[in-house]
């Protein structure tokens, strides 16, 4: 297996590299950081639903839609990216996602431990310190390979993330607050940021202990040619704005089990926005955008019927519709 310790790259190259290596079936570990900030969405997401595209364009924030899973995230120079690319038939590779993440995130957990942060794996694929996320991950199959893509959060631009997502303005403040309460960074935990090179060396050593010795890889013309080819595809509007399944309402994920859900519902008095805060996958708080609407229903009772329910966006949406119908009568 090869390793590519690439230092700082143009933002798009940080994503193209692991896609190209997977398509070229080159088993490898890739480490890098982007020079610039950009927004990155998972395959099922449509940037038009997830991202404030005008804001990103005005502020030169790039947008990338990757071929693997995970959520919408602001990626920048204060993060260290790792990608593990393994052939799908390699006997060390677990077939199912949760086991895949649990296994291959162990070297990352150990890297955190070595720099003095007691991170632990939390399914599905978060790394957590004192109930706060310190690493985001996604994965999937590209070509003949399985790919893990994740980041060590050295520092995090909470405000930048809250501003760049697509969201009703009323939700941004809440999202920012939830991120601050649920996402931590190396800087916050240690009060300093160790040198990226030192962290990279530790990551390589921990992955080697786990998988076997790596040989140093070189970005040859075969790989760079594939990156250019993929760049054309991924930069096209057809790829970038391809619509997946229409989702019900707007769900903003902060970390595993912590979400904001917002949807506008038609009522006899007009459209009413309802926002639910979810913690540990349970509905914790319900708020109305226009408190003066739905004047003939008991809002306290309405909220009580939702708080504590297990979160499932389809079921929640139907339940709200049912409650509005029933209570408006």
């Amino acid at each position: 297996m090869k390793y590519f310790n690439l230092g700082e790259l143009n933002w798009k190259q940080t994503q193209l590299i692991y896609h190209a290596l997977a398509y070229k079936n080159i088993e490898s570990l890739v480490l890098n950081s982007p020079k610039e900030s950009f927004m990155c969405v998972g395959l099922p997401q449509n940037p038009q639903d997830e991202i404030d595209i005008n804001y990103c364009k005005k502020n030169n924030i790039g947008i990338f839609r990757r071929e693997i899973g995970g959520g919408t995230v602001l990626l920048d120079n204060n993060q260290l990216f790792y990608n593990l690319i393994v052939n799908r038939n390699n006997p060390i590779v677990p077939h199912f996602p949760e086991r895949f993440f649990k296994k291959f995130l162990q070297p990352v957990v150990q890297t955190y431990h070595e720099i003095g942060i007691s991170a632990e794996f939390r399914p599905l694929c978060d790394l957590i310190v004192n109930e706060k996320k310190i690493s985001g991950n996604g994965g999937g199959e590209i070509g003949e390979c399985k790919v893990l893509a994740g980041n060590l959060l050295l520092d995090f631009n909470y405000e930048g993330m809250a501003r760049a997502i697509s969201s009703p303005d009323s939700l941004r403040g809440k999202f920012l607050e939830l991120m601050r309460n649920n996402i931590t960074t190396v800087k916050k935990e240690l009060n300093i940021i160790p040198k990226k090179e030192e962290i990279c060396s530790t990551l390589v050593r921990k992955f080697e202990d786990f998988i076997g010795t790596f040989t140093k890889g070189k970005l040859d013309t075969e790989i760079t040619k594939k990156m250019s080819e993929l760049d054309k595809l991924y930069s096209s509007d057809k790829w970038l704005y391809q619509r997946g399944t229409n989702q019900i309402g707007r769900e903003i994920k902060v970390r595993e089990g912590v979400f904001l859900f917002h949807k506008s519902f038609g009522t006899k008095e007009g459209n009413e926005g309802i926002t639910c805060e979810i913690e540990k996958n349970l509905i914790k708080k319900v708020t109305f955008t226009n408190e003066y609407l739905l004047s003939n229903i008991d809002k306290k009772q309405f909220k009580e019927k939702l708080v504590g329910l297990k979160y499932d966006r389809n079921i929640l949406s139907n339940k709200i519709l049912e409650l509005i119908k029933k209570m408006e009568l």
Partner: protein, 142 residues
Amino acid sequence: MIEINGMKFPLDRKYYTKNGAHLWLKLEKDSIKIGMDAFAAMMTGIISFITVNKKAAKSGESIGSFESAKYISKLYSPVSGKIIEINDNVLKDPSKINKNPYISWIFKIEPDDKKNKSKFIIEDKDKISNWITEEIKKLEIK
């Protein structure tokens, strides 16, 4: 019906075993309904997205993808043929596959060859039982 470790495998259909795909095939008059089996429904995590983006399929080739547990897996076709229908109900709420895998078919295919002979398609009770037992063992090793 076979039941192994709480997972049910109805014997009114065939199963596709290649590369851990865990798909079932139910023969209808001129077509085959295809969905995921109980093993996949249990092990893969809650499915949040599924897409079928090809109109024709070749046996063993990817015809779409699905997301579960922040991981994108490929969706394979067990047989070659023309995809004639996709289950919109499942596309809208793919977690139906986790809840009821044998009702939640994903796509319907008109096969090029109605015999569907492949070493990766099994229907014999003992073969299904041995296959699932082996799959469980593999999980314990990895």
